[in-house]
């Protein structure tokens, strides 16, 4: 704009200079002519006439100069209107060039944006593929682990069944051991009692030996008396005296035998006591019984523990199965959530479509701007974008931006519907 103004004023200044030059040239020529007439000389009348001719020539030259100046200045005024119109046209053209340039730049920018959106779609697609792939690998690993656990569980269950099957037999054996231990305890009690009884009976034999000794003593005394009586009757009693002496000797032997028996019994009792001292000792016997009782308790605990083992294994197996099921559910949910990429892609595709429509409209604008008589430009209807919406979210954003939307709001059904 500034550049155009300067050029127009330069033209006016140049033309004005030319006009002023012509006027000055005409006046100068008139004066030269007047001087020429004056230098010719002659009579006064002739001099007067020459002076007048000089003035006339100068006046004519000045008039021609004035006419020329008027014509030049008028031409300058016409030129100023023309220049102004041309300036406005040039300004409009310049503005149009600016708009067309901007539209071209927008078109290029839309091309870049389409490329960027395609790039975003590709990135999300690659990321989603990678996520899906990782889920699949995780699923494969879990599957492998599940298979191993399943195999282990089958083996453990088999062992568990065997344990259950053997358990009855094992418990029977343990019960037998407990009974044996209890019986052994009873037997020890009985043996002790028998030992004590034998010793008591042996002690009782001492009574008999005492009795034998008493009988021997009385027999000896009777034999002595019989010998006295036999001596008093004289010859007639000689035979009886022999018998009495034999009886007396016999009683002595009986007394000796009784003492020997008593000594033998004493030695036997001592010998038995020495031999069974440990069994007969009360503290030792109690200790043995206590050990047997402890062994019985231990055996009983082992039986109960063996009964608990299958239940514990089953509990672990159930927990493992439950965890595996939960992991499988998480993987499935993760795989399902990858649908976000498809949803994102569709939304970006729609934005790209609208950008393409805008680009097409811009091209029409650019082409129309270049033509003297352009075709009527179609209206770019923002609400037409709504025709391409498929998602509730897209409609909601459009409504929020525009306030209200034509042909956008339509009744939406449930997310899952069976016809």
């Amino acid at each position: 704009m500034e550049r155009v103004d300067h050029r127009a004023y330069a033209v006016v200044r140049r033309r004005s200079a030319w006009a002023m030059g012509l006027v000055l040239l005409a006046v100068s020529l008139g004066e030269l002519a007047a001087q020429g007439w004056a230098e010719l000389g002659g009579s006064t009348t002739a001099g007067t006439i020459r002076s007048w001719l000089g003035f006339l020539t100068a006046g004519l030259a000045g008039g021609v100069g004035a006419v020329l100046l008027t014509a030049v200045m008028r031409g300058s005024e016409v030129s100023r209107d023309d220049i102004r119109a041309k300036e406005e046209l040039a300004s409009l053209r310049e503005r149009l060039d600016g708009i067309l340039g901007a539209l071209k730049a927008y078109s290029r920018a839309r091309g870049i944006l389409r490329g960027q959106l395609t790039g975003v779609t590709e990135i999300t697609e690659d990321a989603a593929q990678e996520i899906a792939d990782r889920f699949r690998r995780l699923d494969a690993l879990v599957g492998e682990m599940t298979a191993r656990i399943q195999t282990a569980m089958e083996e453990i269950e088999s062992l568990s069944a065997q344990v259950r099957q053997n358990r009855a037999r094992d418990l029977e054996v343990l019960r037998g051991m407990q009974e044996y231990l209890a019986g052994r305890q009873q037997e020890m009690e009985e043996e002790w009692q028998r030992g004590e009884q034998i010793l008591a009976e042996a002690e009782d034999l001492r009574t008999f030996t005492s009795m034998v000794k008493d009988i021997a003593d009385q027999t000896n005394l009777l034999a002595l008396n019989a010998a006295i009586e036999a001596a008093r009757v004289g010859q007639a009693g000689k035979g009886f005296a022999v018998v009495a002496a034999e009886i007396r000797a016999l009683s002595q032997k009986s007394a000796d035998a009784a003492r020997q028996i008593e000594r033998g019994i004493s030695e036997m009792v001592e010998s038995v006591r020495a031999k069974f001292a440990r069994q007969l000792d009360s503290a030792a016997r109690k200790k043995q019984i206590q050990i047997l009782e402890e062994v019985g308790t231990a055996v009983s605990t082992i039986g109960a523990a063996s009964a608990d083992v299958p239940a514990v294994i089953q509990e672990v197996l159930d927990a493992t199965r439950q965890t595996n099921d939960e992991v499988a559910r998480v993987i499935m949910d993760g795989l399902a959530s990858i649908q976000f990429q498809d949803i994102t892609r569709q939304r970006l595709d729609h934005v790209t479509e609208v950008l393409e429509k805008m680009d097409h409209h811009s091209q029409l604008l650019i082409e129309g701007g270049r033509k003297d008589e352009p075709a009527p430009l179609p209206v770019f209807d923002v609400d037409e974008m709504a025709a391409g919406y498929t998602m509730r979210g897209q409609r909601a954003i459009h409504q929020e931006a525009e306030g209200s939307v034509r042909n956008v709001v339509e009744e939406e059904g449930p997310r899952i519907e069976l016809f």
Binding site: R136, T390, I416
Partner: protein, 123 residues
């Protein structure tokens, strides 16, 4: 094992859905377009269920349903639409074409498997 034909132009969605279906014990067949799906069906594939997208390049999901219903032996095969579209008018169109049900993406795996059990006999 029941066979399910999955029709969707998104390879990511096909991958995720195939994984879910395989984990649930189904044989999953994939098709990236309605035309490819029809080709497979005309070649003798007899799925127990078809799950299709609505908006696909070329023939759309409703067009696929119309074509499938003309094929011998597939008149009563259940067909589920799995799509981002949620408007009633499209549902009615799909229903008239012969769709069995309508599921809006994203659908949770348990919900999908529950619907499959409902529409596939013996699944």
């Amino acid at each position: 094992m029941k066979t399910i034909l999955l029709v969707d132009d998104s390879s990511t969605l096909r991958m995720s859905m195939t994984s879910i279906l395989s984990k649930a014990g189904y044989q999953a067949e994939e098709a990236s377009s309605a035309e490819t799906a029809l080709e497979k069906l005309r070649s003798g594939l007899k799925p127990n269920l078809i799950i299709t997208d609505l908006n696909m390049p070329g023939m759309d999901g409703i067009g696929l349903i119309r074509e499938v219903r003309r094929l011998p032996g597939l008149r009563f095969t259940p067909i589920l639409m799995l799509t981002t579209e949620s408007q009633q008018s499209k549902r009615q169109e799909a229903r008239s074409a012969g769709a069995t049900g309508w599921l809006v993406k994203p659908v949770a795996a348990p919900d999908l498997l529950k619907v499959i059990k409902q529409v596939v006999p013996g699944a």
